[in-house]
């Protein structure tokens, strides 16, 4: 990692407490432009808290969180405005007269061409999440924040969404922070994986160096998974 370029994210000494409970107890994290980082953690470990701080949705943190100004979020639920057609959901808050046509392009890119005028309620879970992805990408973010975006999808849809996300990231090259509890998902997608421990600090920081297309049945994959699971305090036989 070169240190001469400005990073997309620089977090130093991030702390966040809810009442007595300190969820984040001094985190440091740097993400380079175009780098895909996965933040792994058990549920309730404060992963989403961290992402919300980066997204600007939680001003009550202590420490320093510097982010690229152009950022976009994909939440666990699609969070489309039910009363706006899909294309208007993607274009929401976009400035400029060409907002709609850009939204249309983004929808085509995630494979939702032809669904522009659909109401969100008519979309399947996977389609809605694609629309949410289009809504994020149309902003051409320098930083893409993903909060367990595939957690609510079925296993088959999730596999297709992984492929789509990889493809989109390769094309647009945003810096990505993916928050997930799914170890396999993290290994499949990320350049680097970091683990948020129960103590509210970041544990090991593991670069993912898997040659070629990533496959779950290789020994390297297995070794990495075992390592990360141990880090999370789980063993595979559990």
């Amino acid at each position: 990692m070169t240190t001469t370029t400005t990073p997309a994210v620089r977090v130093t000494g991030l702390r966040r407490a809810y009442g007595e409970r300190e969820v984040l107890a001094g985190l440091d994290l740097e993400i380079a432009p175009g780098e895909f980082v996965a933040l792994l953690g058990r549920s309730g470990s404060g992963k989403s808290t961290m992402l919300r701080a980066l997204a600007g949705l939680d001003p009550d943190y202590a420490g320093s969180v510097l982010v690229a100004p152009r950022r976009a979020v994909v939440f666990q639920e699609p969070r489309l405005q039910p009363w706006k057609r899909v294309v208007d959901n993607v274009a929401i808050g976009l400035p400029g007269r060409d907002a709609r046509s850009r939204a249309r392009q983004a929808l085509a890119e995630v494979g939702l061409a032809g669904h522009e005028r659909a109401w969100p309620a008519t979309l399947s879970g996977g389609e809605a999440q694609r629309a949410a992805l289009a809504r994020a990408l149309v902003r051409e973010p320098d930083l893409l924040l993903l909060d367990e975006p595939f957690g609510a999808l079925d296993a088959l849809t999730r596999i297709r969404m992984h492929a789509l996300l990889r493809q989109l990231c390769a094309r647009h090259r945003p810096a990505v922070l993916l928050v997930t509890h799914d170890v396999d998902e993290a290994i499949m997608l990320a350049d680097r994986i970091t683990v948020l421990g129960e103590d509210g600090r970041l544990g090991s920081d593991v670069p993912v160096r898997l040659a070629g297309p990533r496959q779950r049945d290789t020994t390297e994959f297995g070794a990495l998974r075992a390592h990360l699971l141990t880090e999370l305090g789980v063993t595979e036989s559990e």
């Binding site: 997204a55 600007g56 949705l57 976009a72 979020v73 939440f75 639920e77 969070r79 405005q81 039910p82 009363w83 706006k84 057609r85 929401i92 808050g93 976009l94 005028r117 659909a118 109401w119 969100p120 309620a121 008519t122 809504r135 902003r139």
Partner: protein, 291 residues
Amino acid sequence: MSTIDALTAAGSPAPAFREGRRELVEARTVGGRPGWRVPLPRPVRRLAGPVLLVVIWQLLGSLGVVSDAVLAPPSAVLAAGWDLASTGELSANLVASLVRAADGLAIGVTVGLALAVLAGLFRLGEDLLDSTMQILRALPVLGLVPLVIIWFGVGEVPKVALVVFATLFPVYINTYAAIRGVDNRLVESGRAFGLGRLGLVRHVILPGAVPGFLVGLRYALTTSWLVLVIAEQLNATTGVGYLMNEAQTWNRTDIIVLGLLIYGVLGLASDALVRLLERRLLVWRRGFGGA
């Protein structure tokens, strides 16, 4: 081989049937037969009840079981309607009532909506308005009649004022609750995608409050007729209520029933109006792919 033997015998296939009938049955016939059906279209069947009621009512009158002085039969009501319509009396009074309801509703709904938006969007608005509104809405509208007469006399104003008062609160209460009930996650997502305060109000909060507003509007329409019935029986010289009040003096039950029918039809019509609005404004709910 008995069932038990079949179950316990190792390696032998499990029996399809433990007991009773030994053949497969069509799935939709299992668990009760479909009921006996009259081969009539549904609307016709639904109309049968009211029609039967009217027939019985007519028979009771025609056979002299119930006298006109107690309850005029449908034929008499129709005749009274025809008479009043041909002299123009009916339409004049109907228009008078409609104008009162429309005026009252226009003011009541506008004020209720405006107050709900103020209280819903601003903390200060909530503090200043909401407790007051919650207290005032507990007042029975019809209890205000003497006061309204003292304030506004006996012209149009007191009648319209009563409708305003009665329609304002359902609109306020439901719209305010709907604004406060908008899913915070949607607000957050709007914020995350660059909507400012005004944008959030326009694209997230107000559209989200429309269903609640429509519920309030429906209540308001129903209540407006209810209040008008009373208001028009007090010192009025026009209106459907006045017509009924006059009829009472002359023991004309046919005209009284006619008035009731008109109020009923007006109630149904206003309900249909709101439903039309709902169909227009809430397409997104019904999940149409595009009209």
